[in-house]
Amino acid sequence: MRTLMSELDEVLGEFLIESYENLDRLDQDLVALEDDPTDRQLLSGIFRTIHTIKGTCGFLGFSKLEALTHAGESMLSKLRDGELVLDAARTSALLAMVDAVRQMLAAIEATAGEGDGDYSELTTHIHALTDADGHVDVAVVEPAAVTPATAEAELAKTKKSKAKKAVDPTHAEPGAEITPEPAGVEPTPATPDVSAADKAPAASHGPGQGDSTIRVDVSLLDTLMNLVGELVLARNQIVQVTGAYGEPDLATAAQRLNLITTELQEGVMKTRMQPIGQVLGKFPRIVRDIAIGLGKQVRIDLEGKETELDKTINEAIKDPLTHLVRNSVDHGLELPEARIAKGKDPEGRVVIRAFHEGGQVNIEIADDGAGIDSERIKAKAIEKALITIAQAERMTEREALQLIFLAGFSTAETVSNISGRGVGMDVVKTNIESIGGTVDVQTALGVGTTFKIKIPLTLAIIPALLVTTDGDRYAIPQVSLLELLRLEGEQVRTSIEMIHGAPVYRLRGNLLPLCHLGHELWRSDPDGANPAPVTPWRGPSADQRVVNIVVLQADGRHFGLVVDDISDTQEIVVKPLDAQLKSISAFAGATIMGDGRVALILDVLGLAQKAHVIGEARDRALAKASGAKAEEVIALSESLLLVQVGDRRVAVPLSLVARLEEFPRSSVENAGGRSVVQYRGEIMPLVDVAYALGAGPCAEAATEDEPLHAVVYSAGGASMGLLVDKILDIVEEHVAAGEAQPGTGIRGSAVIAGRVTDIVDVVELLRTIDPAFFLSIDQAGAL
């Protein structure tokens, strides 16, 4: 008797696991189908999935589930045969069915029964929509390829639970592996099993995977990760000890151990990597539902779905990303009428981009909505007593935008039940920072907003630089490390300058703020062990002969950390600090070194903030002192002027722009066949940029009363006015060298503020339009 019951439990457990996965896929497929209702492959795949669920429900005796899925199956059967057309109402009904099935599955999981919900109304509704008229003559073609929906179902039936031997024996039933979501949240369950080699989990158009994957319990992978972590520590110790011995055979064996451990570590880490598409895949449905609820039209595009993340990171960013996406749709994007009035496409666009860069995973969520008004933000913050009026006046736009991350802040006029409860953004930021990531926001009023998230790739084992200060060792994650500097003798005195009482070092023309690690940890702590008054570090002491500086980056800015000694780089296992010590922002954890001693791992961002070596005020002070333009110490991003030219977006490097002017149309005169205007005592030719770039007419044609907008470019005493339709904004963007189109003046294209923008090389453009202009300047020898 017991054997039969436990077998049934196993079957039930598998049924639940597969069904949850199938339901997730249904969500995506139904939304995709709505976009393309005649997609045969999708239709058949969806039909098969629901058919499978219905079949198993009947077998296991879940009559309510069976009735509901039967209704769905009937509708899909007619859709597949072309007798019905899929419209919004039917899609919503099917999606509602998916939700109801999830609810019942959750009930089954918890109580082994279907629960008390009454789904007869939904079932009737689906039947009604199925029987309604809507005959369409579409040729029926049965796809020959087997879609993953059935491939997986068959795989599961044959492969059974061989890999599940590793199930923790303390679990009462296999169904308990799935952690049920708390009520009130969209019932998206965690996927407890990871297919080791499955690279196309949700794509219903890809080929079947066949027998190349295996289901593995996640707790087993966690155990493996821990063991590998301990192995790395042991390997470090052995390498250290054998180095001291000098015994050749031992050294060779240690070297082999070293190599094997590294490969094993990489391999195990890979098993836990999941494509971010697993998380992103839920968004088309979420966006659709919210948009319909608000009466907005929204399209969501996902880029980089195959970007891989550790499973735990995927779980951790699910909620923050969901909130940001909901926020974009709810508050960012305008209603269709408002968008049309602004000259935008009535359909709003949300783009989620994921990619690897600089040892981190970057996720960007961009919308082409209304943008964030920093003035309104400041006003709200003052209203909620989060900042004072004086502080607001001193703030830059960038600082003002950061206010949205403060707890208790929400500018929603009407707090919808989707977002805007005032607990959102600060929780998003905290969640992301708790996994070691950063979140930033950029916006252009009226144009759109982009949130940028950066998360470190791995959590557990990282390469780090070991340094010593005040007799203690500390580890600095290599991902934050830029370079190492060593100052000796006279350099110590001459190259470290004091600006506003704080020491800085001039590194290749840029000023690097400095802080001293020992000082920050032990001597600037008014409430701690050494309650001395806070006196900032004033640079190296008079008798110091050597200064070691570790150049680090945090939040996009550079600073220098002065330490006593620099050791080597090692791979270390990150161990968390005790919960009560975690709140110390300067530390990210601890590790055990080769000699068995504990070393603290520095949290570079936390330390930099504590030492006040990063921050807008510091930047301004440095910039003023060095006489340079206030730009970020990393000169990676460029200031660009965004303009509208005809129907195209164009960006001009701001450094090339002399002035922005407006001229009444009446002031334009004709000289030698060219349009010119009298400007500052000279005759300035005007260039029709739209014509030069071959752009189409502008959506909003300017009336005769409106002045002409010109971007004035000056060189060698001569000026040229580039006519544009609208001046949009000034942005700072990191622009990679794109594909230049020779002979047109276009340096490349980029997506800026969510829109494709041509970046114009002004010099090149002018050369193509008016070679004579440059000739004369050349002759004047000014260029």
């Binding site: 520590l233 010590l581 300067a586 603290l600």
Partner: protein
């Protein structure tokens, strides 16, 4: 890394005298000394006792946190009980450590000296004596009267809670 586990006390003696009668309920405490005070924690919550350990000191934390210890690969926070009780630091000598489990985390309590494992009669439990100073009273659950001495029962959960307002 040297393994310096050392159980300095004899294993708890089996109570064989009453084997035929109804067993008298005993509670066993692992005892240790801080200055003149004798403290005890329930034996079952003690993971092990250690000699003086190499510690990595912890900047920016409450001075109550003496440092971090590597315990067979696990990083354990060491709490200086003298500081926690407001007693002056030990002058010379080699402190010892009592490793206790609080929930699923382990803490090392730094004490002057480890004592014996002692049986007490649970009915002899008393509330904390009036003569104890302020900080000490908050950390004591109660006391047992032993021959000529008072055994103060340490509230491990309270003792291992670092004052949050100080940490940044």
């Amino acid at each position: 890394m040297s393994d310096t586990d050392l159980k300095t006390t004899a294993p708890p003696a089996l109570d064989t005298t009453n084997s035929n009668a109804l067993p008298v309920r005993h509670e066993q405490f692992c005892t240790f000394r801080l200055g003149d005070l004798l403290f005890g924690v329930e034996v079952l919550s003690v993971q092990e006792v250690l000699l003086e350990q190499e510690m990595t000191r912890m900047p920016l934390a409450d001075p109550v946190v003496r440092g971090l210890i590597n315990l067979r690969g696990q990083i354990v926070t060491a709490i200086d009980l003298r500081r926690r009780l407001g007693l002056p630091d030990l002058d010379g000598g080699h402190p010892m450590n009592v490793v206790v489990r609080s929930g699923d985390t382990a803490f090392a309590l730094v004490v002057d000296e480890i004592g014996d494992v002692v049986d007490v009669d649970p009915t002899a439990f008393e509330s904390p004596p009036e003569t104890l100073a302020g900080k000490a009273r908050d950390l004591i659950l109660g006391a047992y009267k032993l021959e000529g001495r008072l055994l103060l029962v340490l509230d491990t959960e309270c003792a291992t809670t670092i004052d949050d307002s100080i940490i940044r």
